[in-house]
């Protein structure tokens, strides 16, 4: 309670703790629902995963860090052993969706866009911040949906979100775990070691070379790994920080453009199967590389554009 009363803590941060508790509740709900779902092939594993995630999300701030760590390890185990699954859940029927659309029509865009609008509004109010703004937007969006259609009761929202959360599964936690991996890299001094090695190859003090190596490295590593999120964790610690940021480059420009340089790699690699190979099957194409071939030119143009952008802005 002391945390919420402390006048030195920003309103947005206090709000976020409340929203984290809500997210924790959503996650625990997914865990309990799957436990009771007889059609789920891995009820206990699924329950452990979502419930522990919910506990850390909701109360992590007040649990000693080491206990949090233990909870996360236990949470990850069923995911590693592939014991997190989804059961049966009621997808909206075509007739229901069609009837809703006839009644609501394009007004459904209002609640859809509300989240983004509130995220921007929150970002513009320093004491609130983008994250809390976004969460407020979610609840405003839900209220508008209820106003448009009174059949949208709290349980409908909760069950619909559980269906999507269970369908996304433990892989949805990958960015989260990668962020933690980045912190462990940092604590173990990985960045310093790489800086020592690469320093012998790249001339230190040459920002232009650093930017080009970082941007192309992000693209190539993403092509090899098939995942820009994984690449940016490794590359920012290894190349970005010692060779670009330490020389006074703008961290916001370099940081976010590195991610989209990675996306250029995503456009070029069959390793990113979800984006480049699965559509080939879904659209019944003959050429396995048919999607990638159409993305080569945009990807190459964008990597050049972004390198130039970084060089100009830094």
């Amino acid at each position: 309670m002391a945390f919420f009363m402390d006048p030195d803590i920003l309103l947005g941060d206090k709000l976020m703790e409340v929203f984290y508790m809500f997210m924790g509740f959503m996650s625990v709900y997914a865990g309990v629902r799957n436990l009771r779902d007889k059609s789920n092939p891995s009820r206990w594993g699924t329950f452990v995963f979502w419930t522990l995630l919910g506990v850390v999300l909701a109360f992590g701030r007040w649990i000693p860090a080491m206990i949090d760590g233990v909870l996360i390890v236990v949470m990850v185990l069923p995911a590693i052993f592939r014991r997190v699954a989804k059961g049966s859940s009621a997808e909206p029927g075509e007739a229901e969706v069609e009837a809703n659309f006839r009644r609501i029509g394009s007004k459904v865009f209002v609640p859809a866009l509300a989240i983004g609008v509130f995220a921007i509004a929150g970002a513009l109010i320093p004491s609130v911040g983008a994250l809390a703004g976004c969460c407020i937007g979610v609840f405003v969006s839900a209220l508008i949906l209820w106003a448009l259609n009174h059949a949208n009761r709290p349980m409908v929202f909760l069950d619909d979100s559980e269906r999507l959360l269970s369908a996304m599964g433990p892989l949805s936690m990958l960015p989260m775990l990668l962020a933690s991996l980045g912190a462990i890299f940092d604590a173990a001094g990985v960045g310093d070691v790489i800086a020592g090695i690469v320093g012998g190859i790249i001339p230190q003090g040459n920002l232009t070379v650093g930017i080009i190596v970082f941007a192309l490295g992000m693209m190539l590593f993403t092509m090899i790994m098939g995942n820009a999120f994984a690449a940016i964790t490794v590359m920012t610690v290894g190349i970005g920080a010692p060779f670009v940021l330490s020389q006074g480059a703008n961290p916001a420009v370099v940081g976010i453009l590195a991610l989209t340089c990675g996306y250029c790699g995503t456009l070029l690699t069959p390793m990113a199967a979800n984006f480049n190979i699965v559509p080939v099957a879904m659209l019944e194409m003959k050429d396995r590389m048919g999607v990638i071939k159409n993305q080569v030119l945009p990807a190459l143009v964008m990597i050049v554009v972004q390198i130039v952008y970084m060089l100009v802005a830094c």
């Binding site: 865009f109 911040g129 949906l145 490794v234 961290p251 480049n276």
Partner: protein, 239 residues
């Protein structure tokens, strides 16, 4: 032997390249790095717990899911289909380009219509093939194959570069949380603003490329000039 600490990075790169389970790779890399980096079991658990809790913003997508499914239930996809369906008489290339623009605008608000499975296959491709027929031609198999590739490419480009414009997107939050332990504090709104020109150029270049490519393909398969196709479409419209 300080280089040993790099083994964790090798685990990530090799693991992803070999398509092993992603969660397993990241977990393994974290354990290996912590032990070789002398953090010990205690240090590993404490760093993991601390960073997980301070990075909870990366899980913002969970609260957004609260409305995502219910928006679908209330006809979001149908409304989007109606919106793009207004592009009557357009060539296949222009339909795909317009889809890219629409996808970009909505991606900036984190709104998605179902990707290739949920939108390109059931809505965009029938529109594109319908446009070939409306111009009085029989859809050629190889030409339609190219259109499928372009429609998927447009989907990917517009989604990748559009979602970074959303202030609460996981990519930007990951960048922020990766930079924080290195001592750099960046602002989410600022990250989104930086990406605006990149997103506009990405979708603009891709859309223009596909329109030009489609015009060339139609000339090759049907001897069409773009003007002729448009006038046929307009004539059809008038009937």
């Amino acid at each position: 032997m300080e280089y040993l600490v790099l083994l964790g990075i090798a685990v990530v790169i090799v693991g992803f390249a070999l398509r092993l389970d992603a969660i397993l790779i990241v977990f393994l890399a974290a354990v290996v790095t912590a032990l070789l980096g002398d953090l010990g079991i205690d240090g590993f658990l404490t760093t993991l717990g601390e960073s997980f809790v301070s990075n909870r913003s990366v899980t913002l997508f969970i609260i957004i899911l609260l409305v995502t499914g219910t928006l679908e239930r209330n006809g979001l996809k149908q409304a989007a289909a109606e919106l793009i369906g207004r592009a009557k008489g357009a060539t296949p290339g222009i339909i795909i380009a317009l889809y890219g623009v629409m996808r970009l605008v909505f991606a900036a608000f984190n709104v998605s219509f179902g990707g290739v499975a949920g939108f390109v296959r059931p809505i965009i491709m029938p529109m594109a093939v319908g446009a070939i027929e409306a111009a009085g031609h029989k859809p050629d198999e190889d030409y339609v194959e190219q259109l499928k590739g372009m429609a998927s490419g447009m989907e990917n480009v517009a989604w990748f570069f559009g979602q970074v414009l959303f202030v609460g997107t996981s990519g930007a939050i990951l960048v922020k949380t990766t930079l924080a332990p290195l001592g750099y504090d960046v602002d989410l709104l600022q990250l989104a603003l930086i990406e605006i020109p990149v997103a506009l150029i990405a979708v603009g270049v891709t859309a223009a490329y596909y329109i030009v490519k489609d015009n060339g393909l139609r000339r090759r398969y049907y001897g069409d000039s773009p003007a002729a196709a448009a006038s046929v479409a307009v004539a059809k419209e008038g009937e």
